[in-house]
């Protein structure tokens, strides 16, 4: 299936899903006017992609979000839930959680994801920007 690339805007993150190499990246700030619409179609394509991934696949997901609002958070849960389901049935999913080491809010949110989506291989990556 075709890769998905959306450039970052003032209120939405860069989406760089390279399905052909199994590398997915979300980067930037997220407070789009309609988070359900923005993430809805992304998650839809993600689910299609995941349905075609077999046991031996390793997917690397890089998330570097510096701000996300409440509705984005809700949609991000659906995003990670889709990945977690794939991981439960044997696909290896590595989640690289990038954040500013000074930003405890994003750091702690990452560890909560780690607790909630146990099938993901979570890597906490505090990086000085």
């Amino acid at each position: 299936m075709e890769n998905l690339y959306l450039a970052a805007t003032a209120d939405s993150p860069e989406v760089d899903f390279r399905f052909d190499t199994h590398e997915l990246a979300l980067k930037g700030e997220s407070y789009p006017e309609n988070a359900a619409a923005f993430y809805g179609s992304i998650i839809h394509q993600l689910r299609d992609y995941l349905a075609g991934c077999g046991d031996g696949t390793t997917i690397t997901v890089d998330v570097a979000l510096i701000y996300f609002n409440s509705s984005s958070t809700k949609m991000l849960f659906a995003f990670f839930d889709a990945l977690n389901s794939a991981a439960t049935r044997g696909v290896r999913v590595v989640l690289n959680w990038h954040h500013d080491p000074e930003d405890d809010t994003i750091g702690d949110f990452g560890s909560e994801l780690h607790d909630d989506f146990t099938a993901l291989e979570f890597r906490d990556l505090p990086t000085v920007s």
Binding site: N34, A35, A36, A37, Y39, G40, S41, Y67, N69, S70, S71, T73, K74, M75, F77, A78, T105, D108, F109, E112, D116
Partner: protein, 234 residues
């Protein structure tokens, strides 16, 4: 319903539960399964809601902190935009704004003063000494000025005192006290020299401009210089 719904999963679970609930002839196992499915969704919803609220509360706290800092910085910037950094007196732009604001709905007396032979102070004692004289002069003006007087520094060694609604004679008397306060004792300098200033006073009716008030006071100041300085003219 919108094409994409933030609560798509929850709405779908709710529909399924409602459908099952509407049927009264299913076996116990089917109801139990439906309840189980609802529990799974409900548990997820509670967990996610908890996370969202904690996260958004934290972000809100951070925003409040930033907002307080921003308000403080805006106030500092506003102060800096209106005040002379050396003396803390109003700067020229602020003096013009204050004067015009007062003249919109009242009369105003304006004192303009200039330090006599200030260039000599700078030349003989250096610029830091000149700055010290300016600071001390404003401090002396403040000890004499009434509370509502607005003292400004409009040029290097030129100052104004804006006096809303004050009569001309009262302002002239005040200028005289200021002149005496400046000339009375030597300034705190190594050489301990006496500093004097010349004063011009104007009275301006409501509806006039800063230019009117300043122009006439400045003319009077020029006359005070011409008469030999250390004087008040109106």
């Amino acid at each position: 319903m919108a094409e994409h719904d933030l609560f798509e999963a929850e709405e779908s679970a709710l529909r399924a539960a409602t459908d099952t609930h509407a049927l009264d002839s299913l076996d116990a196992g089917s109801y139990r399964d439906a309840l189980g499915a609802l529990i799974v969704q409900f548990r997820r919803l509670v967990r996610e809601t908890r996370r969202v609220i904690v996260h958004s509360d934290r972000q809100e706290r951070e925003l409040n902190t930033l907002n307080a800092r921003l308000t403080q910085l805006a106030a500092e910037l506003d102060y800096k935009a209106k005040h002379d950094p050396l003396t803390g007196a109003f700067n020229r732009r602020a003096v013009i704004e204050l004067t015009e604001a007062h003249l919109r709905d009242g009369t105003l007396a304006l004192i303009v003063l200039d330090i006599d032979h200030f260039k000599r102070v700078n030349d003989e004692h250096g610029h830091p000494a000149g700055d010290a004289v300016i600071v001390e002069l404003v401090a002396r003006l403040r000890t004499v000025a009434p509370e509502h007087a607005e003292i400004g520094r409009v040029g290097g060694e030129e100052f104004t005192v804006v006096l809303p609604c004050m009569e001309l004679q009262t302002a002239v008397a005040l200028a005289e006290r200021m002149r005496a306060k400046v000339a009375a004792t030597p300034f705190d300098m190594p050489a301990g020299c006496t500093v004097t200033a010349s004063f011009g006073v104007s009275h301006t009716p409501s509806g006039s401009t800063f230019g009117d008030a300043y122009g006439r006071a400045d003319q009077a100041l020029y006359e005070a210089k011409r008469r030999g300085r250390n004087a008040v003219v109106f």
